[in-house]
């Protein structure tokens, strides 16, 4: 790590030296009233600098890349992620070729064809064949890259498979809230932003029977390994963006317009802990659309479980209704019996009566808005 700083320091020292030596030249030229040929001052030095930069640049880019590589994200933990990674490095490999050629030619020509007294440049205004060649070659390379990219893109954005595990993730200032379809029916209930309040953070609509067994979690999301996971993405206040770096997943969360992204995670958290040798490794969900003061810390833990652990975890979760039995008041009369199943027995009777009025009152006022 200190090697880098030392290197910077070295570069600066060299450059400072160069500046000072050049400045002496400057002072000299200020004193001179009229130099014989202004236009070529410093030509040798500048020409040589191009070669220095060419060699120095090649060395430092290679070295810094090799150094930086160990800090890149580990191999993607999702199937599509490895595909886009391969495509990324393939494209980067292809693009390195023109990067090297162009920069080499620019710097080399600048040095090679620097001004020489008595020399005259070649009058060479056009060559249609040459121009045609360097129009067509980039076009073909582009077509190749576009085609591979387009194939990947269409597969990634295709409809999610039917057996996908559906999980809702809602962004708000400044955290994420995960909602699961439930311990029993595994279907997400309806929602309505007007039903949101301090407890019902994602606006679960309890007039939909699918919502009775829904449960939410504001700090971590569990997903099963090895099968498709479909994230249904929402935002409550401003734009957010779900970013799971290790899964190569990113999709904006837009208020008023639900979005989605599906992927197949195939490495559990435990696998990754073993692979990275870091017993504290955790997948993380971040926000990548600026959303205000807490944008930089909208973190949610993501835990990839094997199927059995995941099932067990789901079955152990407390449904929203059991945590807040007073919301039973919002369940329509004809569905109350069904809903009672998810309310803890001892809370059910008193809660249904006593807090019904207050919750109902709050509900009425909020739905009036």
């Amino acid at each position: 790590m200190y090697i880098i700083i030392a290197l910077v320091a070295l570069v600066f020292i060299v450059l400072t030296g160069v500046v000072i030596s050049r400045l002496q030249g400057v002072l000299k030229s200020i004193n001179k009233t009229d130099s014989e040929e202004v236009e070529t001052s410093g030509n040798k030095f500048n020409g040589a600098m191009f070669i220095v930069i060419l060699i120095g640049g090649a060395v430092s880019i290679t070295w810094s890349y090799l150094h930086a590589r160990e800090f890149f994200l580990p191999e993607a933990s999702s199937i599509h992620g490895r595909r886009t990674d391969d495509l990324f490095w393939f494209s980067m490999g292809i693009l390195t070729i023109p990067f090297i050629i162009v920069n080499f030619l620019v710097f080399f020509f600048a040095w090679k064809y620097q001004h020489k007294k008595g020399h005259r440049a070649t009058f060479y205004p056009e060559n249609h064949k040459l121009e045609l060649i360097w129009t067509i070659i980039p076009a073909i390379v582009m077509a190749l890259l576009v085609f591979t990219g387009w194939k990947a893109w269409s597969d990634i954005t295709a409809e999610a498979p039917r057996d996908a595990e559906v999980i809702e993730i809602t962004g708000k200032q400044f955290n994420w809230i995960a909602r699961y379809g439930g311990v029993d029916n595994n279907k997400l209930g309806d929602y309505n932003y007007k039903l949101i309040d301090a407890q019902n953070e994602v606006g679960i609509d309890l007039s939909d029977e699918n919502s009775f067994d829904d449960f939410t979690n504001p700090s971590e999301m569990h997903i099963p390994v090895g099968r498709p996971v479909l994230l249904k993405i929402r935002a409550r206040d401003v734009l957010h963006s779900v970013f799971i770096p290790h899964m190569r997943v990113k999709m904006d969360a837009v208020p008023g317009m639900p979005t989605k992204f599906w992927f197949v995670p195939d490495k559990t958290t435990a696998d990754m802990r073993a692979e990275t040798g870091n017993p504290k490794f955790d997948y993380e969900i971040a926000c990548t659309e600026v959303c205000g003061q807490g944008h930089f810390s909208m973190k949610m833990r993501l835990i990839v479980d094997d199927e059995a652990t995941y099932k067990k975890w789901v079955s152990e979760q407390a449904t929203f209704l059991s945590t807040y039995p007073e919301y039973l008041a919002k369940v329509p009369e004809n569905l109350k019996a069904k809903a009672m199943k998810y309310v803890p027995a001892e809370a059910a009777t008193p809660a249904a009566d006593s807090s019904a009025t207050s919750a109902g009152g709050a509900g009425a006022s909020s739905s009036l808005r």
């Binding site: 020399h119 582009m142 904006d252 208020p255 930089f296």
Partner: protein, 627 residues
């Protein structure tokens, strides 16, 4: 002067006392001036002041990112309450800095400062016109820009801070004052300022287009225009089509903010309250914004490419390679610029099919861009290159343009954009290809045309030192930034301590910040050179770079009307450098073929017959009104 005065009795308009009575008041001469050269300098100086502010902001947030533990108490005298007692930068103000840096650099420096300066200065001088088509509109254009500047500058001093939702000001964040302090008065002023800025751009753009089409001198056909003028013309057309769309998106946002409409708002619950707005779409704003936002990239870049073409040809002492291909590629880029905007929106939830369409269109842009790159290289090939500071910056531009442009091919690929969107990879990409490249175009232009602007030379050695420090500095900042982006670091993060996956690259970020500060300091060489040379520089000869274009046939310090006596006629293109057989290695555009029989090609000898016809035309001189 005599020729002008003799004709003057014939016409009666405002120009009259400008050159009739020698004494112009200070206000008319330097402040509310209608002369394109003064307006250009006003744009340049304002742009430079904004650049100092904008880059200073970036240095402050780079210190925050690269040296997170540093105590910033020493900034308290400037930033006051934005620095906490513990010497930490306020996170809200960090976002404001990022936002204002983007806004200032994109609009006030690289749009107004670059295109405003050089379109104004060079269009009349290079096409052979007395002034812009409408001097008054031109003056208005600057003063609307000035008004926009004042409003934006004032917003920096608000207690709640200036706008802070990113320079793209995506609603609902920018629409809801309760979402962020920067979305209050700061955003109101931002929107007002941008509305005036757009008016300024439209007034300027109409003028540029009209002037290029109508006021070209005798013989200056479109295929003899220097590439600078082509680039300014195309830029102005781009601006004229795209800026009104930004105005509409800004107006709708103002309606949403102040008049309770729901263009961009729907289903929002914030601060314990569900808002009544339904049916709007934040995505609509993004479409409208990027319909300007993407052409804006080329509004910033094309003038820089035009300037580079001219400077590279002059200083390679060679004709620009593929003049027609250069024009065609600029037209191609300009056309494509309007149909690629949604590549900024691949992961907004937009229909994936639309994503594929925009991916195809986006990657086509690489082809005309590649043609430009190769043409520059071939122009250097077998040249006789003089490393004036302007030339160095132009060569640097080609390198930055290509290096930065190549990563655009990655980002334009929607499948790859999923991971890289809104990471530092994007930041590195656009800073190289449009930020640094355009800034290099600006520097190249200033160094090259300084003698024409101020009648004095800038110091060459200082210019060369400035170039090397800046060029190396830019690469030291932005190459490592790609690594940070590949590692997944998101943009606009106040600090990287909240996540495990960003818990690395501390040294890399420190390196970037140190390099940024170093590059920033190098700019003071330029500032000193610039302001010192205005007053104390060596007197410039008439044609210091031995260039072909018309501005160098005007007096060293052109007066009102640019040429004394007749406007020169044009007989050839502007790239007759090192023509075989010619006495000198350049033949200016106003030299007829009949005077250069030794170097004419056969088809050019045929053109000698048309010279009489060209000379007899006279309809474009505003000082002569005989129709």
């Amino acid at each position: 002067m005599s020729a002008i005065e003799g004709l003057e009795t014939a016409h009666h308009h405002a120009d009259e006392h400008a050159h009739h009575h020698e004494a112009q008041s200070f206000w008319q001469k330097y402040i509310f001036c209608e002369d394109h050269k003064v307006i250009a300098k006003q744009y340049l100086i304002t742009g430079i002041l904004w650049a100092v502010i904008g880059i200073t902001m970036s240095v402050i947030f780079r210190i925050q990112l690269g040296l997170p533990d540093s105590n910033l108490s020493w900034l308290k005298p400037i930033l006051g309450g934005w620095i906490s007692d513990a010497g930490k930068l306020d996170p809200n103000f960090y976002l404001a800095l990022v936002t204002m840096h983007g806004t200032i650099m994109v609009f006030f420096v690289l749009t107004a400062g670059l295109s405003g300066t050089f379109s104004n200065f060079l269009i009349p001088l290079q096409i052979g016109a007395r002034d812009m088509a409408s001097g008054f509109m031109n003056m208005l254009s600057y003063w609307f820009f000035f008004l926009a500047s004042v409003i934006m500058f004032a917003s920096l001093f608000l207690q709640q801070g200036p706008a802070a939702g990113g320079w793209v000001i995506y609603p609902p964040l920018s629409a809801l004052p309760q979402a962020h302090p920067g979305s209050g008065m700061g955003m109101t002023l931002w929107l007002a300022s941008m509305a005036f800025f757009i008016v300024s751009q439209l007034l300027g753009g109409i003028n540029y287009i009209t002037t290029v089409i109508n006021l070209r001198t005798r013989g200056m056909s479109f295929d003899r225009l220097p590439l600078t003028i082509w680039s300014f013309l195309i830029t102005a057309v781009l601006g004229l089509i795209s800026f009104p769309v930004l105005l509409s998106s800004v107006l709708l946002l103002i309606f949403d903010r102040h008049f309770g409409t729901s263009f961009y708002l729907s289903d929002i619950y914030i601060n314990g309250e569900a808002l009544p707005n339904v049916g709007g779409s934040p995505i609509l704003f993004q479409h409208l914004f990027w319909f300007l936002g993407h052409p804006e990239v080329y509004i910033v870049l094309l003038p820089a490419l035009g300037i580079t073409s001219e400077v590279i040809a002059t200083n390679s002492r060679k004709p620009i390679f593929g003049y027609r291909a250069m024009i065609a590629s600029m037209l191609g880029i300009a056309f494509l610029a309007f149909i690629v905007w949604a590549h900024h929106m691949f992961v907004t939830g937009m229909n994936p099919f639309l994503g594929s369409v925009f991916m195809f269109l986006t990657l086509i842009i690489a082809v005309p861009s590649a043609v430009k790159g190769f043409n520059y290289i071939t122009t250097l090939w077998k040249g006789n290159i003089v490393f004036t500071p302007g030339m160095l910056f132009s060569i640097g531009l080609v390198s930055l343009f290509v290096s930065g442009g190549l990563t655009g091919i990655i980002l334009g690929n929607s499948a790859l954009d999923i991971q890289l969107h809104d990471t530092y990879f994007v930041v590195a990409h656009f800073h190289l290809v449009m930020g640094a490249a355009s800034a290099f175009g600006l520097f190249a232009g200033v160094y090259h045309w300084f003698p024409k602007m101020f009648g004095r030379m800038m110091n060459t050695s200082l210019g060369q030192v400035h170039f090397w420090l800046t060029f190396i500095g830019i690469y030291l900042v932005f190459i490592p930034m790609h690594y940070v982006g590949i590692a997944g670091f998101p943009r606009r993060y106040y600090q990287f301590t909240s996540y495990d996956f960003t818990h690395k690259f501390m040294d890399m970020n420190m390196f970037i910040s140190v390099a940024a500060i170093f590059t920033f300091l190098a700019q003071f060489i330029f500032l000193w050179n610039f302001f010192y040379s205005i007053f104390k520089g060596r007197r410039a000869p008439q044609n210091p770079w031995r260039s072909n274009t018309l501005e160098w046939t005007a007096p060293v310090i052109p007066g009102h009307g640019n040429w004394e006596g007749e406007i020169p006629a044009v007989y050839r293109w502007s790239y007759d450098y090192s023509k075989p057989g010619a006495k000198e290695d350049f033949i200016p555009q106003n030299i007829p073929y009949s005077q250069t029989p030794e170097s004419n090609f056969p088809h050019e000898n045929e053109l000698i017959a048309t010279e009489k016809a060209i000379e007899s035309q006279n309809f474009n001189d505003q000082f002569k009104t005989h129709h």
